[in-house]
């Protein structure tokens, strides 16, 4: 009770004055809402409207109902293809990258590894490099005739491999590029989470005779579970919004960037091609909306079934 009284007394003069219909805070927050209305809300609504029309950017728009959406699901629509590609890529890299990031974070968090800062810096470095630049570097590394990877393989007597010409291999290359770039980012997230685990827990486990692997499985993993889910959640959004990487990596030989037999075609790449290559703004908007809805449902699903109580 006494505490409460004190609380009221201590209530800031600043806040109290502001409670009487003051317009200043509204003035401060209004730029966000104005900008949001112009650059996000109205485009989002306009995109929805466009997705029911056929329009090449000039001339009249034709109302076509749901036909843009229907076309995406038909055989030639490529939308399903792009979603399948991203699903495959997701399962190719997310488990490895997330587990890897957690393992490296635990290693760098443990007391008997020195130069932790140096290691962390280097592992995080790929995240700050421009995707375009680094994707060309990967493309060149993977080059069939002049690439370094094929040179490595030739030391072991393995014939040259045309990495980016086979659907399966092209997807694996894309997955490794993504892993390379995002491993450090995820690791840093885990490192931040590991700070909150009291070291006494590990010491107690050690005294009880637990091996480091056992402590990892039974202490680390359960305690960073929320971060694992957060990483998976971010990776889901990231994978299905891929653009720069496939656009460049598989740009040789295919003018659309979709790679061999469209194996690395991503939904955003499809959207880009529809909108800015073929000027089918209606179809492109439909792609955007469909992807938005699918990802939204995915996010809800992940939060509900994986996230648990967070």
């Amino acid at each position: 009770m006494a505490k409460q009284v004190q609380g009221i007394k201590k209530e800031s003069l600043f806040k109290r004055k502001k409670r009487r219909g003051n317009k200043i805070p509204y003035l401060f927050i209004s730029p966000f809402f104005i900008l949001f209305a112009i650059f996000m809300l109205s485009p989002t609504l306009y995109s929805f409207y466009l997705s029911f029309h056929e329009w090449n950017g000039v001339g009249p728009k034709t109302y076509v109902g749901l036909s843009n959406y229907a076309k995406l699901f038909s055989g030639g629509g490529l939308f399903l293809k792009s979603m399948t590609n991203c699903t495959i890529i997701f399962f190719e890299y997310v488990p490895i990258m997330t587990l890897g990031a957690l393992i490296f974070a635990s290693l760098l968090n443990s007391r008997y590894i020195r130069f932790q800062g140096v290691f962390r810096t280097f592992i995080f470095l790929p995240y700050v490099t421009a995707i375009i630049a680094i994707t060309y570097s990967f493309q060149y590394l993977l080059d069939t005739n002049y690439g370094m990877i094929n040179l490595f393989l030739s030391w072991f007597g393995i014939e040259r491999i045309a990495w980016l010409n086979s659907p399966t291999l092209a997807r694996i290359c894309l997955s490794s590029l993504i892993t390379w770039r995002w491993l450090g980012y995820n690791m840093v997230l885990f490192l931040a989470g590991l700070q909150f685990i009291p070291p006494e827990l590990y010491e107690a486990a050690k005294i009880d005779g637990a091996t480091p692997i056992q402590s990892f499985l039974h202490i680390t993993i359960p305690l960073v579970k929320p971060i694992i889910f957060f990483c998976i959640f971010l990776s889901t959004i990231g994978t299905f919004s891929l653009f720069d990487e496939p656009f460049i990596l598989t740009s040789i030989g295919t003018s659309t960037g979709g790679g061999p037999v469209n194996a690395t075609l991503s939904p955003i790449l499809l959207l880009y091609n529809m909108g800015f290559r073929y000027l089918r703004f209606g179809t492109a908007s439909a792609v955007a909306y469909l992807l938005f809805v699918v990802l939204f449902l995915c996010g809800l699903f992940e939060m509900k079934f994986l996230g648990g109580k967070r």
Binding site: S12, L13, K15, K18, R19, N22, I24, P25, Y26, L27, F28, I29, P31, F32, L35, F39, M40, P43, T44, Y46, S47, L50, G57, L107, Y112, I113, F119, T121, I123, L125, P126, V128, T129, A130, I132, A133, I134, Y136, S137, Y140, L151, Y185, V188, L189, L191, A192, F230, F243, I248, S251, I252, T254, I268, Y272, F276, F281, A288, L291, F292, L295
Partner: protein, 281 residues
């Protein structure tokens, strides 16, 4: 005897661990080194098997040809101008809104903040087509405005700054008020200077995002003079059959190096900014 053996074993394990980590570091740096080395190779060495990591006759001719084909100095300046003005404006408006949300009470505050968080759900690609059409209508194609303005409405930035401003004591603001300081001056002269660490964290993230941004400038900018450096790298690739790696990597080096330097300079703040969203959010 037994003890010695255990020690040896542990030492061996440790060496193995370090080797593992060093291998990882090499894997992380290798694509960057590969890029750097190719930037200084002549064309015949780039398309040569077996490839070399250290150029046999290092040359800067790639850089010269790059600057001949594109006004690349101007392109780098464009990137710098867009990134810094977008960063400065976003930081200003984000912290202004964050100040409003953190230090005032007003009807509808909690609802508006929740709404603001909800806007983070809208993905950028939904606005790609309509904003392009909008910019074409108001003649913002081939201009920088379309790359600077939209980012100013940044919900994450407001969330981040608000979190930080909670730690600023109200008493400080009260005393300024009593001294007759206006609300806006309190913001400029007290809140902003105190929030410097948070502004640095957020600023680096904004700057990096804008500098490395690819799809927006790809769509909006058209003429060679207006392009950002990242888009020029893509433009160098003339067709699907010929990739001039020498020029591409020369450009890439100039795009990547400034950010690596920036990252190394403010690494601590940068990582703090990255992680705060995950831990608190």
């Amino acid at each position: 005897m037994n003890l010695k053996k255990g020690k040896k074993k542990r030492c061996f394990k440790k060496i193995l661990l370090y080797l593992f980590l060093i291998l990882l570091v090499v894997a992380m740096v290798f694509p960057l080194l590969w890029m750097f080395s190719a930037a200084f190779k002549v064309k015949s060495e780039i398309f040569h098997f077996p490839p070399t990591l250290i150029p046999k006759n290092p040359t800067v001719s790639n850089f010269f040809s790059l600057f001949k084909r594109f006004p690349f100095g101007r392109n780098l300046l464009n990137s710098a101008f867009i990134a810094s003005s977008a960063t400065a404006l976003s930081l200003f408006f984000c912290s202004l809104a964050a100040f409003g949300f953190a230090k005032y009470r007003f009807p509808g505050r909690d609802f508006l903040f929740l709404f603001l968080l909800g806007t983070m759900l809208i993905p950028y690609y939904v606005t790609l087509i309509p904003l392009f059409i909008f910019y074409r209508r108001i003649q913002w194609i081939d201009k920088f405005w379309g790359l600077i303005f939209p980012g100013m409405a940044n919900a994450f930035g407001i969330f981040f700054m608000r979190q930080y401003m909670f730690s600023i004591p109200d008493e400080l603001l009260d005393s300024a008020r009593i001294d007759g300081c206006s609300d806006f001056r309190i913001f400029l002269q007290i809140i902003l200077p105190i929030s410097r660490p948070a502004l640095t964290s957020l600023g680096v993230i904004f700057f990096m995002t804008s500098w490395n941004n690819f799809i927006w400038p790809l769509i909006i900018l058209k003429s060679d003079k207006m392009l950002t450096a990242v888009v020029v790298i893509r433009r160098l690739q003339a067709g699907p059959l010929w990739t001039p790696y020498g020029l591409i990597f020369a450009g890439s080096v100039l795009v990547v190096v400034p950010l690596i330097i920036l990252f190394l300079a403010v690494q601590k703040e940068f990582i703090a900014g990255i992680t705060s969203g995950a831990i608190k959010g």
